[in-house]
């Protein structure tokens, strides 16, 4: 029997695979397709203090082996999430660890949401989203400066009841100072990568396809960038990493783990195939067996890989 369990701050997971934030709502829709208990955990859609309507449509466009999205953090706000969405998960999936993705316009927003959401009994960790490229305020700007990122992290860690994983942006010249600053500020771990900023233009109108003009690039197209950044952050920090970016198959998941990820989130692949996560989880034992492995700890060869 393959042992897929992993243990990270706040997260004792039966397997390392979880849907990525924004690609799985609050679980209700996918629960119509399969039993969410198959998942290691679930990262829910970004929560903000107030409800958000998000950007105008069109909000998505396809790119080669990727997609752009500019949803703009649409979510029903912390109140509804605390009173309806999280309780729904707690009732229907009492054993499913939830990671809450938190975003905001200001530091005060982030702090308020972290404080409140970390008290939900089924929220086991927070993913601090300082890297959303699709909102005018409170997105990327928190994630591109080490000082600002550290200040925000510190303030959120101070009020949170659960460990905080800071979600880093790939849209930076050097991710390392940001990771180090966030680590020093008390982050329990990292989550990476968020989307890269991209654009498509409609050849007919010669205007951007997305109403927001730019959007976040996700999917297999960005996988090599995710691997590179995970590897780079692993080379300077021993904190746990939730890796993501283009993961579709069990082989992809192990490639990110070989680069230094301790758990793996699956985003865009859910859209291509709603059963992407359970299929990937089911394929993990066989994929591990290819390397004569029967658990994930032994797959952890990060030390070999640290020469950055």
């Amino acid at each position: 029997m393959t042992d897929l369990t992993i243990s990270l701050p706040g997260l004792d997971l039966k397997n390392p695979i979880m849907p990525a934030s924004g690609c799985f709502g609050f679980g209700q829709e996918y629960a119509r397709h399969y039993d969410l208990n198959k998942l290691g955990a679930i990262i829910i859609k970004a929560a903000t203090k107030e409800p958000r309507l998000g950007n105008a449509t069109p909000r998505v466009a396809e790119t080669p082996s990727g997609m752009l999205n500019a949803i703009g953090l649409q979510n029903p706000g912390i109140e509804v999430i605390m009173n309806e969405r999280l309780p729904w998960l707690a009732t229907n999936y009492p054993d499913l660890p939830v990671i809450a993705n938190v975003a905001g316009n200001t530091e005060a927003d982030y702090v308020a949401v972290c404080q409140q959401i970390s008290q939900a009994p089924n929220v086991h960790a927070i993913e601090l989203n300082i890297s959303c490229p699709n909102v005018a305020h409170g997105g990327l700007e928190f994630g591109t400066s080490p000082e600002i990122a550290a200040k925000l992290t510190k303030a959120c860690v101070a009020v949170s009841q659960v460990p905080i994983y800071v979600k880093l942006s790939p849209n930076v010249t050097d991710i390392r100072p940001i990771a180090l600053a966030v680590e020093a500020a008390g982050a329990a771990g990292f989550s990476l990568i968020n989307t890269l900023v991209g654009m498509r233009i409609n050849p007919k109108t010669r205007q951007p396809i997305l109403a927001n003009q730019t959007g976040g690039l996700s999917g297999p197209a960005i996988k090599p960038i995710a691997i590179r950044l995970i590897h780079q952050v692993r080379s300077i920090s021993q904190l746990p990493i939730i890796g993501m970016g283009g993961v579709t198959t069990a082989a992809d998941a192990l490639e990110l783990m070989a680069a230094g990820a301790n758990a793996v989130a699956v985003g865009t692949a859910n859209f291509s195939d709603p059963f992407a996560c359970p299929k990937l989880i089911a394929a993990l034992p066989e994929e591990l067996a290819k390397y004569q492995l029967s658990d994930l700890s032994s797959f952890d060869l990060r030390r070999d890989l640290i020469h950055d």
């Binding site: 829709e29 909000r59 195939d273």
Partner: protein
């Protein structure tokens, strides 16, 4: 997985695609759609298509689609027996339970909005509803499925260039020839380009059973990603998802 059992270019650029498989075992409402994975790794997002015809006996559904971009071009080149990953039926579909035999329905469509209206019309006719169709096309050459629709009830055509039927868009044809439609028809159903939907939405804004079907770029297709939202007219702070709460809405319900 559904299998391609037939694929024909019925007029230039428009394909009729028959898919065989278990999807017909479940109930399918007219106006629902399927979301198809293009079988090429570079294409991640599924493509939504209305279901034009359900044949339970032969376990097939028929789609009618126009080649507009890379995905539909790829689909049109898929040979017979290709297995396609098809998600669906998705969405809500057109309500018609209130209709009684002998009552009248008006079906309004244009371009590639026509496909789901064919299955709708078939099912209404099977329930002995009298169906009148009003269809808009760019020109005569763009018209497809004329005979199948005529077999179900009268069809009034409008073409932008006047090459067939009424000269002008569907809104003008409705004004000219269907002035009493609001009271005459017990149900109104529309699907087509945005201009057509807006014309129907305003003209039948108070009709108790008038429905329009919207299109939007989608990612998940099942209501989880918020890609395809539309705002409620009475309260634009409330957003509905076209893939899941729609694609069919009552007239005057959402902002289009």
């Amino acid at each position: 997985m559904l299998t391609i059992t037939k694929q024909t270019e019925i007029i230039p650029g428009i394909y009729e695609l028959c898919l065989y498989g278990d999807i017909t075992q479940q109930p399918i409402k007219p106006g629902q759609f399927v979301d198809i994975k293009i079988p090429d790794d570079a294409h991640l997002l599924r493509r939504p298509f209305g279901i034009a015809h359900v044949d339970r006996q032969n376990k097939t559904i028929t789609l009618l689609y126009r080649v507009v971009g890379k995905g539909t071009a790829y689909l049109s080149r898929c040979p017979l027996k290709t297995e396609l990953s098809v998600l669906g039926p998705l969405g809500n579909g057109y309500p018609s339970d209130h209709l009684m035999p002998g009552q009248n329905a008006l079906i309004i469509g244009g371009g590639t909005g026509i496909p789901p209206l064919y299955e709708l019309s078939r099912q209404l006719v099977a329930k002995n509803i009298n169906v009148h169709h009003v269809f808009g096309f760019a020109n005569q050459a763009a018209i497809f499925y004329e005979a199948p629709f005529r077999a179900l009830g009268p069809v009034s055509y409008a073409t932008n260039d006047g090459s067939y039927g009424y000269h002008g868009h569907v809104g003008l044809l409705l004004d000219a020839q269907f002035a009493d439609a609001v009271s005459h028809y017990d149900a109104v159903y529309a699907c087509g380009p945005k201009g057509l939907l807006m014309a129907v939405d305003s003209r039948f804004s108070k009709h108790p059973h008038a429905y329009i079907s919207l299109e939007e770029r989608m990612a998940c297709g099942i209501g989880a990603c918020y890609a395809c939202v539309t705002k409620l007219r009475r309260n634009p702070d409330i957003q509905l998802k076209i893939c899941d709460d729609g694609p069919v809405f009552k007239t005057n319900e959402v902002l289009i």
